[in-house]
């Protein structure tokens, strides 16, 4: 997404620190705007918020209380974060100064989201190979990320060359890798 567009979109929004638009379901950064003095890594933030939103959606679905109009509000010591689903393909995270009044933040977020929503492309999302997504997920969440691919290779006994090209994994190898990922993360299944 054109960063000039986002820059214009936030121009009259007080106390805003950053906006991240995440493309789902792969949780990839689609567009962002940050204050000039920010040192945040856009890719990282967009990905984690994408995962967080997905987990929130699944949790609410399990409770039978999900609706696409839901938004997540996070009040951390330094920031006020609002996550909102723009469409089935995009999630937006707006980060405000912690001192901003919540009512004002909600109002401005609503206006901002309308502006952004109108300029989002519509497309048929192409799902990437599951093996690629499993390893990306593992890279994000595994302890010792520096060694995680080697650990997958050793646990599955699949050579590193294959693990390094996950799009080439056969369906049974993908299952093996996914089971290994669950083992490394201590999870019964992967929410991807």
């Amino acid at each position: 997404m054109n960063s000039d567009f986002l820059k214009q979109a936030v121009e009259d929004v007080p106390s805003i620190k950053a906006v991240f638009i995440t493309a789902m379901p792969d949780c990839l950064l689609f567009g962002s705007w940050l204050r000039a003095d920010s040192s945040w890594s856009e890719d990282q933030v967009a990905t984690y918020f994408g995962d967080l939103f997905r987990a929130n959606r699944e949790g609410l679905k399990a409770l039978g209380s999900w609706s696409s109009e839901m938004q997540v509000t996070i009040e951390s010591p330094d920031n006020l974060v609002i996550l909102h689903e723009l469409s089935s393909d995009f999630v937006c995270a707006c980060v405000f100064e912690r001192s901003a009044a919540l009512g004002m933040v909600r109002l401005h977020t609503q206006r901002l989201l309308e502006r952004i929503r109108g300029s989002l492309p519509t497309f048929e999302a192409e799902e990437r190979p599951r093996g690629v997504r499993v390893l990306e997920f593992l890279n994000r969440y595994a302890p010792d990320p520096h060694a995680v691919l080697l650990r997958v290779s050793l646990r599955t006994k699949l050579p590193m060359e294959l693990i390094s090209s996950p799009e080439q994994l056969s369906p049974s190898q993908v299952s093996q890798v996914e089971e290994t990922a669950c083992g490394i993360l201590g999870l019964p299944s992967l929410n991807i």
């Binding site: 969440y141 302890p143 010792d144 520096h146 060694a147 650990r151």
Partner: protein, 421 residues
């Protein structure tokens, strides 16, 4: 007996240490967890627990047995007390041994592996398999020795583990099943070490390295644990650990992969090597930033030569062997040699000559020296966080390391060449 300092011996010229005649080294929890995690990745958690606990049992039998002999502990109560105190002195945590001649229960409190695992990984991942294989093997060995049972006749398992969010660790010592691996590794003692090491050489900055090593040794011997058997030295969470445990678990695992899944050999070798990076970053790095270092050597300036030679001194003081800096061209190349280390004597004694180099730790620790020397801004006294570790060691490290000579292959010494990629 609660202070084992007097039983610790320094093979001064070789920079190796023994406790009750058994070689030991200092390693921090980051290394210990990573090393054992690699064994688990290769063998699966259940099989790895057996391999690790049997290796621990073998090495602990030598250590506790020698100390029982030298202390004159003659009855089960005295012997079990000695084992308990020894375990705590090693920084392995607290053991309450409620055992008799047929085995029994052991309660573990603040055991090093489970405590450290929960500290490091507990907020990130959930663990369901017990982790205290070292404590289990140690407890089995202590019970056998206390009641004069044959070595290997008992085995221990862990039924509750702090790493799995239990409040304590519970170990069960019982008669070993018929399929328990035999304790057939050959123990390494001073005589075996001297059979395989060669006359120590000298390298660059020898007098500086020797002087720092001596100072660090004095500090290290003064380090003692708290009442729970947790040892904090130089502000680092450390253990005095049996090098034979690392050697046997690593080499048995690598050999098994070479034999049964050769396509994964590169991964297992790289992971055991990676533990060298983990150790140098966490232990060496924090030691260089410690008040003890600042008081003894002065604040670190951050020059490449200074960092590399300091690391060589630290390696010697930790009991890793006589490591020398043969050649150093900042930004380009480092050549390290060792006439002794804690890897090759065990390998040669237990497996004989190898057709390839086998000092995985030495080779990769040397590479990490160069990474620390070139990429860390020492004068700013950085926090050595796991994020910084990822920045330095994830992906292409930028340095290639190769063990060009190895005693395991029959060479005169071990030599590692680190070059800029």
């Amino acid at each position: 007996m609660s202070n084992f300092k007097d039983h610790s011996k320094e093979l001064i010229e070789q920079n190796l240490k023994t406790l009750g005649g058994t070689p030991y080294v200092y390693h921090c929890h980051h290394f210990n967890l990573f090393h054992d995690q690699t064994v688990e990745d290769a063998l699966g958690q259940a099989e790895a627990f057996t391999v690790r606990s049997r290796a621990a049992q073998k090495m602990a039998t030598q250590l506790i047995g020698n100390l029982i002999q030298s202390s004159g502990a003659s009855n089960p109560v005295e012997r079990l007390q000695l084992a308990k105190a020894l375990f705590a002195w090693m920084g392995q945590g607290g053991l309450d041994l409620l055992v008799d001649g047929s085995g029994g229960k052991v309660r573990g409190d603040a055991l090093h592996y489970s405590f450290a695992w929960r500290e490091k990984y507990g907020s990130k991942v959930k663990r369901s398999a017990p982790i205290d294989a070292f404590a289990a093997g140690f407890a089995a060995a202590a019970t056998e020795l206390a009641f004069d049972l044959p070595s290997g006749s008992l085995a221990a398992s862990e039924s509750a583990c702090y790493a799995c969010r239990e409040p304590f660790c519970d170990l069960d010592v019982a008669t070993a099943s018929g399929d328990a691996p035999a304790l057939d590794a050959v123990s390494v003692d001073e005589d075996v070490i001297m059979k395989h090491v060669v006359q120590p050489g000298t390298g660059l900055e020898e007098s500086r390295i020797a002087q720092i090593t001596q100072g660090l040794n004095e500090f290290l011997l003064g380090v003692d644990g708290d009442q729970r058997g947790l040892v904090q030295g130089f502000g680092i969470f450390i253990t005095r650990h049996l090098s034979g445990y690392y050697d046997q678990t690593a080499y048995d695992t690598i050999h098994m992969i070479e034999k049964t899944a050769p396509q994964a050999t590169a991964a297992v070798e790289e992971l055991f090597g990676e533990s060298g990076h983990v150790c140098v970053f966490n232990t060496f790095g924090n030691l260089l930033l410690s008040p003890e270092w600042e008081g003894m050597v002065g604040p670190v300036k951050g020059e490449v030569e200074e960092i590399v030679t300091s690391c060589a001194a630290i390696a010697r003081a930790l009991g890793f062997g006589h490591w020398t800096v043969e050649e150093l061209k900042p930004g380009e190349r480092l050549v390290m040699r060792s006439t002794s280390n804690y890897e090759f004597p065990f390998y040669l004694e237990n497996y004989g000559r190898s057709d390839k180099s086998r000092c995985y730790f030495f080779a990769n620790a040397s590479r990490a020296f160069m990474q620390l020397a070139h990429r860390v801004d020492w004068p700013s006294k950085p926090e050595l966080t796991q994020d910084l570790y990822q920045e330095l060691f994830k992906g292409d490290v930028g340095w290639q390391t190769e063990e060009t000579l190895c005693r395991c292959k029959g060479d005169d010494c071990c030599e590692v060449v680190v070059t800029k990629k």
